[in-house]
Amino acid sequence: MKKKYTGGRIFTALTYVFLYAPIIVLIVFSFNSTKSRTIWSGFTLNWYKELFNDNLIMSSLQTTLTVSVIASVVAAVIGTFAAIGFYNMKKKWRGPLLTVNNIPVINADIITGVSLALLFISAGAALGFQLGFTTLLIAHISFDVPYIILSVMPKLYQLDRNLFEAAQDLGCTWFQTVYKVIIPEILPGIINGLLIAFTMSVDDFVISYFTAGSSVQTLSMTIYAMTRRRISPEINAISTLLFAVVLILLVIVNMRESRQHKVEIKKEKMLKGLV
């Protein structure tokens, strides 16, 4: 029995090596003194310096962050209200609408991207606009909202319906009930959804590629264009930086969560001790 477990652990360890090998290569070669991505010729921080002087990379990073922040925040607002609306709907309507809501999640990215491109191009031809920042933003909001709804809906179902009946009995209007009672209660779900939506937006390449046109470029699009030509180690540098930021964020979140967990356990123990 024990032997089998160690077998599983060795296999797991090898899988992690597989998952991290390319990332380690990426990071190591961001410090390489020549442009080669396979021959090590010495340590340098030049690529990091050049990164901050590279207008194309910096402007596309800015586009990515702007689009992701606006899209995820707008999506959080639309999605939260939509989830509350769906929650109060008859099942007959809610079911089909939630299915439509799931389409962008389940559908292949390329189909979402291509279908939105068709809409934007044909509407643009009729109304006289071109693919650009606005279409990119609309596309991002469209694929962000489902993630908000998917993380807010379960929180709504955990709510006690008596809670907002009580609020209304005590004189709250429906709107007051929503922002004084419901939204504070489902806030963790909204924030969780917002984070998922934001990372989806930052990470997205395919949908942006089809809906952004040629005037704006997200970071992913710049990276893609670079991989088609000869890539610069600046890209390794920026991915190392992003990796470091994410790693630090995750460690902080994890530490906070485990501390909260510990506090909860302590509370439980204290309560038990009191009883």
Binding site: Y5, G8, F11, T12, T15, F18, L19, Y20, A21, P22, I23, V25, L26, R37, T38, I78, F81, A82, A83, I84, G85, F86, N88, M89, L97, V100, I103, P104, I106, A108, D109, I110, I111, V114, S115, L116, A117, L118, L119, I121, A139, V145, W174, V178, T199, D203, F205, V206, F210, L219, I223, Y224, T227, S239, F243, V246, L247, L250, N254, S258
Partner: protein, 314 residues
């Protein structure tokens, strides 16, 4: 019935109907929160999908045609290759992902958290970059071939053929620009999508069920076959869809790791919407067929999930 009660009843009736009207409006007001998004979905989810259908059945002149589909037979090899490579990648993800998910779910809660975090961490790096990193590993002058050369593998192989006059000495293994590289890229990128749902389902299995089975004389293999695997099937199914759908539709992985030598459905669609061969009608027709294939695969999978017991027989 006396007059008195009748009048009360009619009064109540009026009150009731007034209340239902009020409730109707109340209800309307509450669900009206969803209306903006319903309109949004109509505009940016439903209409685009309909547009794909419209484009697929029209020609560039705007007339109805089946012509976009009749040319499709030329692309049968692309369809076949895409489905086959995505299938291989899904099977490999399952074969690697399941044992890993099982191993993780047997660790202590604290270790589990760290292990899951480590699975998710690479997903935060842009997937283009992750795939690009494989290029430097697999290239002809890449890290693997360099390693083999430095160990003397190529010299050794060339030495074996020294007597053969027609033999051209090799300097590298062809790793990149093969369909194997594309499958590797798919497995690498989508493996977390297999591990995470399976692990989340296995963790929730009641340990008492397993203990009960053990008490009743089941050995660990039987416990796995009869308890753990059937109960984890829903995770397996969502894992399979989460790997298969992006794998069958990718164009980035094939572009980067095969440099256009392995053409997939995604590449074909991408070509119709960007670049010189611009033909959104053909592109829509291909997208439509791909959607149908995905829907068929998913409904087969979900039926598989319903007949859990049948699936376990194997």
């Amino acid at each position: 019935m006396s007059r008195n009660t009748q009048s009360v009843r009619s009064e109540k009736g009026i009150g009731d109907s007034w209340r239902t009207v009020k409730e109707f409006f109340e209800h309307f007001r509450k669900q009206s929160f969803a209306y903006p998004y319903v309109i949004w979905m109509g505009l940016f989810v439903v209409i685009p999908i309909i547009l794909i259908g419209v484009y697929a059945f029209t020609s560039a002149e705007g007339t109805f045609t089946f012509g976009n589909f009749s040319g499709m037979i030329d692309y049968a090899p692309v369809f076949g290759r895409s489905l086959w490579l995505a299938f291989l990648a899904t099977v490999m993800c399952l074969l690697i992902g399941y044992p890993v998910a099982l191993a993780i779910s047997r660790m202590s809660p604290k270790t589990q958290r760290i292990m899951l975090m480590l699975i998710m961490l690479p997903m935060w790096i842009n997937f283009l970059l992750r795939t690009y990193a494989w290029m430097s590993i697999l290239e002809n002058t890449g890290l693997i071939n360099r390693f083999f050369a430095s160990v003397g593998v190529f010299d050794w192989i060339n030495g074996l053929h020294a007597a053969d006059l027609h033999y051209t000495p090799i300097t590298h293994f062809q790793l990149i620009n093969t369909s194997g590289a594309v499958v590797l890229g798919m497995v690498y990128n989508y493996l977390p999508f297999m591990i995470l749902p399976i692990q989340s389902v296995i963790v929730k299995i009641d340990p008492f069920v397993i203990e009960a089975a053990e008490d009743l004389g089941a050995n660990s293999r039987t416990v796995f076959r009869k308890i753990i695997f059937p109960l984890s099937l829903s995770g397996v199914i969502s894992g399979i869809t989460m790997v298969f759908v992006p794998a069958v539709s990718t164009f980035v992985i094939s572009k980067l790791l095969s440099n256009g030598t392995v053409m997939l459905l995604g590449d074909l669609i991408e070509m119709q919407f960007t670049g010189a061969a611009y033909n959104p009608h053909l592109g829509s027709a291909i997208s439509l067929i791909m959607m149908v294939i995905v829907i068929i695969c998913m409904s087969v999978m979900s039926r598989f999930g319903e007949g859990e017991e049948q699936a376990v027989v194997m």
